[in-house]
Amino acid sequence: MSTIFEQPRVEAPANYLNVDYGWKSWLFTTDHKRIALLYLFSITAFFMVGGAFAVAMRINLASPRGVFSADTYNKLFTMHGIIMVFFFLVPSIPAVLGNFLIPIMIGARDLAFPRINLLSWYIYIVGGIFALWAAFDGGVDTGWTFYAPYSTTYSNTHVILTAMGVFVAGFSSILTGLNFIVTIHKMRAPGMTWMRLPLFVWAHYATALIQVLGTPVIAITLVLLALERILHAGIFDPAVGGDPILFQHLFWFYSHPAVYIMILPGMGVMSELVTCFSRKGIFGYSFVAFSSIAIAVVGFFVWGHHLFVAGQSMYAGTVFSLLSFIVAVPSAIKVFNWTATMYRGSISFDTPMLYAFGFIGLFTIGGLTGLILATMALDVHLTDTYFVIAHFHYVMVGGMVMAYLGGIHFWFPKITGRMYPELWAKFAALVVFVGFNLTFFPQFLLGYLGMPRRYYSYPEEFQVLHVMSSAGASILGVGYVIPLIYLAWAWRKGPRAPQNPWDAKGLEWEKAPSPPPTFNFDTLPIVTEPAYNYSGEPEKEEPLAGEQRGDRHA
């Protein structure tokens, strides 16, 4: 009994997680990876709040008479929209995965402005506190679109407080975008040319352009809204000579491009997932890369398709309709290129790839129904019906949330250094897919049959479809809770992940340990091959006019 063999204590190599455990090391960190985790936990919290409002809505809609009062229901869908759009979808992939991965993917030690990065998180939290304060102190009932003059003159809820929350959170988005643009321009490792950038980075570059150019417009619009609510000078009030359509123009000038803020990063994730699990290079790299930029640019000129029935001129409507069709082209290029990438690839069905399959199918439905809505004659019939709700949920939830979950699973080993339980993950992916379709497909039918959005009650013939939708929502909810549980478990108890569990390409897998050290790499990476070089072939031709090296050490 006297001999005690001491297990030799193996010191885990220093990484960004175990370098310090104090709360100050988190709240005052400037490490982009830790800030990404701060965002991860906070947006998950907001997702649950926004989800709770959705649950309440679906409970209400399970019966034709409703459970809550009309006023309560108005507040529910408003808070659901505001929390989900401004506090979950807009920051989701950029602020979590983009923040974590962009510096590693381009071979940098951090983003260009680490302190501004931390500041953006604090700004986000302050904005979120405003919004939650408004939500739990009586709520707001204008719809997430804040349309005037209802929001400026008639609503007696917390419009200003909520608008300030969105205004403040907007600056967080601006600062994230600014940081990404400068980082991608100035921080690339030697050899990391623009045409060797992972498509995830291209997608975030395009996203950042929209964040930087669009967000200030919603900021000033909300300032004018708040001032108008205080002063009642009538700037958006038709009763005293103001123009409510002007508010809609200003609002959608940001909020339509913001839709692309919410989907482009998901498309970036998709390019990574599809190539890795097909063991093939991307089909048509430059098309996928520049389609992101095309979406960002053209996306700024389509906002008027939200105003087809608002009194906009017929000629403006025609032009906006045409442009809306054009913006679908680059999105379609992406979908075709992903499927072409899979063609003759050796596809494996790991969890991230299941989400990628889900994305392609659901995003295609969401995108094509978008074209139906961009057709003026059809839009007159479908405006403000459940068809619109189903359309953008297919893009936002079927697209972005699928990509977000796929991305979280794909990079989970890198972020935490642990593997998640594959079987549970596959099961959850399936539940999410089934639940999602059961929730939102009936809403296409409801909309087609004429069920308007934002109504707390409905005629009895719609009940079957509404009950199907509510049942689907409960399945979808389960599908979201399962990953929450097993990922939390795996973070502490999961088996240790190797550096590159997927045998994937990219600096984050090939050069950075799991989890990475504070400065990401043990030695400065030098890039010598194109992105997604799964075939291992040397670069055939110089992609773009001779630019051989990244800006660093040029």
């Binding site: 680490p114 600014l178 100035k186 200030p216 000033i220 300032v223 108008e228 000078a233 200003l250 660093r552």
Partner: protein, 218 residues
Amino acid sequence: MAIATHNERLRHHFDTAEQQEESSTLGMWVFLLTEIMFFGGMFGAYTVYRNMYPDAFASTSRFMNITLGAINTVVLITSSLTMALAVRSAQLGVKRALILFLVLTLLLGCIFLGVKVVEYHEKWVDHHIPGPGFRYDDARYFRQAQILFFLYFAMTGMHALHMIIGAGLLATLIIMARRDRFSAAWHTPVEMIGLYWHFVDIVWIFLFPLLYLIGRTR
């Protein structure tokens, strides 16, 4: 273990001082881009209402104090000159000139804000501040005039807010300069805040003709 060539101004994630400097400059320009879009929303609203109510607009422009506006324009352009000279002094590493020009810029900025207060006070006395107390002599244009004064206050107010922030930044620069924080080798904050100051000036260069000069009837 200190590295011999370690530059205390070079932050850990940059390789070279040039890279750091270029990043700051690009970041500032991107930020100014967001500012253009921010003011752009108001300029857009201005354009819409000016086209909608040209007569009411001509009527309100009589109440803009063109003398004070012109004085402020001169003050602000001069402050841009002193700011440019401050940046030049920083590049040359002349501390005394740097502080002098920064103080002058700050002073001119404060004069601008002081004149603005006088103008706002005039509007207050005339009951031209939008809201319940708003009055307008020409009954035909009462409602439209209120909207146009709303835009006047929103645009010049937002501009003044940027001036106040700029003044705070200048004060910070003066303190930093007094503590010998800048040298010919490193003076990025002076350059960045210089860019910001020029931008705020340019906004006024657009505001002055649009609000005071165009469509003036008398």
